[in-house]
């Protein structure tokens, strides 16, 4: 797999000279027939694929204002050309956001505009050929739909919207991506992206209960499918087994325990992630989301809270109400849905959690803003709350915190390089190259400010970083979950940690 060169990490994030075609070879595995058909798409490239593609493009531009306006409005000013982490990491000009859009726009122009029909050369319009389709497949799977380009475009043109549309077009002609489509299929049949069945999930949770009790002496519960619980927690399935995700899950459970909340997970909605967005399919995105509504109704909960996951939070915050609202059966006094950080920060503000920050003193933290949270959602009731909530929580539980270069944080944050359905081994090269800007910013605070760990609030970010940052000399354990930090510092009532702090006797023996 690893027959590529890891880019050299420099002092600063520089703009590379163009190397045409340098990533043309990068394409993910194509979805098999059964992956395609489970989602309602043809199993292989249909015979009249050109016509089908153009019809779909026409359909999309009548249903999505973004698509139509963005196709028309770009003035080729070039402001976005140096904003994409994949361009910065690969030097391939087709990874410049406007060039990526143009792969589709040139076809739109050719078939749907006066200028492109009659003067194709003049306006850069092109026929939809097999090579163009291959380029689409390659380069629309080198976009993590992170929306960084949209922040910097004078018209807010969002390449993510274009690449979602392109992927939907490719799905309907029968050229879908294996990774995304297979996973969506698993959600429908099993309930989560990992294909972790209910039994296995119950075992994992039981194991966690034992671990936490061993660690703290407190019987913290990880309830599953409890009817009548107040809160349904929906969290990415990576939280059930991957590192450092699982430490975050332990953090949520401890916070719920300590605040006396009645909560539950659900087997049928054991996944916050929703790859329906990545493939640009309203229908599939809705179908995946619907499980959450159904689970909430069936369990009779009053609130829905989402765990640490970036794209899941974008869909939950921005789209859930649209896709499967109204949620009039939930308690209207709480945000619907709510982010776990909104919950935890609320409790920290109320003072209902006892914190011993010294537990985290062996670390100096920095924080990676996840693209979907930063640019596609909000926390709290004011614009930009999504930047403050995680930082507030980290600072409330850690003494040492440093931000990275402001050109790489908050709304200007760089994607981890693994979002948008690219978190698969067959795209390792683009993932390693795409993490370069973040790695550069991290290296700078590590060297100059003594940062030891980077906290994240997204399952994809955490998986991507632990896998790709080692290519640049970092170690896996430098990535932590925000709720892992909470978990470390939280002093639960009746715990060994409380006993240690207060000097009262604990009946357990220390390890």
């Amino acid at each position: 797999m690893a027959d590529f060169e890891t880019p050299e990490i420099k002092e600063f994030i520089g703009i590379p000279a163009l190397q045409e075609g340098s990533m043309a070879h990068s394409s993910p595995f194509i979805a098999k027939e059964n992956h395609q058909e489970a989602l309602g798409y043809p199993g292989e490239l249909v015979e009249n694929w050109q016509q089908v593609a153009l019809d779909k493009m026409d359909d999309l531009r009548t249903r999505y204002r973004s698509f139509q306006v963005f196709l028309d409005s770009c003035v080729k000013c070039g402001a976005c050309t140096d904003k994409c982490h994949y361009f910065l990491g690969t030097s391939d000009p087709k990874n410049m956001p406007v060039a990526r859009q143009d792969l589709l726009r040139k076809v739109y122009r050719r078939y749907f505009t006066f200028a492109g029909k009659y003067f194709p050369k003049l306006v850069g319009a092109e026929d939809l050929t097999e090579e163009v389709l291959d380029d689409w497949y390659s380069y629309f799977h080198q976009c993590s739909q992170c929306r960084r380009c949209s922040v910097f475009c004078p018209y807010g043109i969002d390449t993510a919207e274009i690449s979602m549309a392109a992927r939907e077009i490719m799905d309907v002609v029968g050229k879908g991506q294996k990774y995304c489509n297979e996973i969506i299929g698993k959600v429908f049949t099993i309930g989560n992206n990992l294909g972790l069945p209910g039994k296995a999930l119950a075992n994992v949770l039981e194991g966690l209960e034992e671990d936490v009790e061993d660690d703290t002496g407190v019987a913290v519960k990880f309830p599953l499918d409890v009817k009548g619980a107040d809160i349904l927690l929906v969290t990415p399935s990576a939280d059930f087994f991957a590192e450092p995700h699982i430490d975050g899950l332990i953090g949520y459970a401890k916070v719920f325990h300590e605040t006396g909340a009645s909560w539950t997970l659900s087997t049928t909605a054991s996944e916050a992630g929703n790859f329906g967005m990545f493939i640009g399919s309203y229908e599939n995105m809705r179908r995946v989301s619907m499980r959450i509504r159904d689970a909430a109704k069936e369990l009779g909960v009053k609130r829905i809270i989402f765990g640490e996951c970036g794209h899941a939070w974008r869909i939950a915050y921005s789209f859930l109400n649209t896709l499967c609202g109204p949620f009039d059966f939930l308690d209207q006094r709480y945000p619907i849905p709510q982010h776990i950080l909104e919950y935890t920060w609320g409790e920290l503000e109320k003072g209902s959690l006892r914190i011993n920050k010294e537990e985290n003193d062996h670390m100096t933290l920095t924080f990676h803003d996840s693209c979907n949270v930063a640019r596609g959602s909000r926390m709290g009731d004011y614009p930009g709350g999504q930047f403050d909530y995680p930082r507030n929580v980290i600072k409330a539980v850690c003494n040492n915190y440093v931000d990275m270069d402001p050109k790489t944080t908050k709304e200007a944050t760089f994607c981890c390089g693994g979002g948008g359905g690219l978190l698969t081994d067959d795209l390792m090269e683009i993932r390693v190259k795409g993490v370069l800007p973040r790695a550069t910013a991290l290296k700078s605070v590590v060297e100059n400010e003594g940062v030891t760990h980077m906290a994240a609030i997204c399952a994809i970010c955490k998986s991507q970083f632990t896998k790709t940052l080692p290519y640049y000399g970092f170690t896996m354990d430098q990535i932590v979950s925000v709720h892992q930090l909470v978990s470390e510092a939280l002093v639960m009532k009746g715990s060994e940690q409380e006993a240690d702090l207060d000097g009262t006797d604990s009946d357990d023996t220390e390890e």
Partner: protein
């Protein structure tokens, strides 16, 4: 010649208004099915009006993005706007209530120099297109030609203001005649003919080219949506029809 140009001006104006209008109608009618403002975004409608105003007047996002493009682009557009206002004196008669606004010193004298700002801005943008590898890569012939055309419009206009000087009174009679269907002859000037012919071309290509960014920016969902999806359910008509069956359940 005058009659020919008069006819072209009319045709191009009709094409411009008609087809740009149709485009605006298309943008208006096409729903945005999902809430996709680029956050942090305003949480109220008033906030959105201010955000849009900052984009249109100051090019805020472009400013964050690239200072060179911003400087040249902003000079060009501000120059264009002022020059446009200055041109209104040919169209508006002194009895019109708009006259005091148009004829005042600020518009007329700044307007005169705005042409320079416009041309300098355009030259800067053109230079970037040639010099910056990344922008060269994304440019089509039409992108260069459009800039060249605008430069020629600007330069021919400046020629008439500062070098050859044309008969402004006669020009005004031509323009007033144009709108009153009482066609008068144009002052004789090559610069003027070039200027007017290229304006004809500009109006003709406007609705079929990237110049649609001018109406487009107002319809961009990432900039014009209120960030309130949790508070208010947003639903497009096609989605309500096809994907809302759970509500009746």
């Amino acid at each position: 010649m005058s009659g020919f140009i008069a006819a072209l001006l009319w045709v191009s104006l009709l094409v411009f208004v008609g087809f740009t209008g149709a485009k605006i109608r298309q943008y208006w009618k096409t729903p945005a099915p999902l809430k996709i403002p680029t956050t942090p975004a305003p949480v109220t409608q008033t906030g959105v009006v201010f955000r849009m105003a900052r984009e249109v007047v100051l090019f805020e996002s472009l400013f964050k993005s690239n200072k060179w493009i911003w400087v040249f682009g902003w000079m060009f557009h501000l120059g264009l706007l002022l020059a446009f206002f200055r041109h209104l004196r040919y169209v508006v008669s002194p009895e019109n209530f708009m006259w005091p606004v148009i004829s005042n010193v600020i518009v007329q004298s700044f307007g005169q120099y705005a042409g320079f700002a416009m041309v300098i801005g355009l030259l800067g943008l053109l230079a970037r297109r040639f010099l910056v590898e990344r922008i060269r890569y994304i440019s089509s012939p039409s992108d260069y030609l459009m800039l060249v055309m605008l430069i020629v419009i600007g330069v021919s206009g400046l020629m008439m203001s500062f070098v050859t000087h044309i008969d402004v009174v006669q020009l005004k009679m031509f323009v007033m005649g144009l709108f009153g269907f009482d066609f008068q002859s144009l002052p004789e000037s090559i610069a003027l003919i070039v200027h007017l012919l290229l304006v004809v071309v500009l109006m003709l290509i406007f609705p079929f080219s990237k110049l649609l960014h001018a109406p487009g920016v107002f319809f961009s969902p990432t900039r014009n949506q209120v960030d309130n999806p949790r508070e208010k359910r947003h639903l497009a008509p096609w989605a309500a029809e096809k994907y809302n069956d759970h509500v009746d359940k």
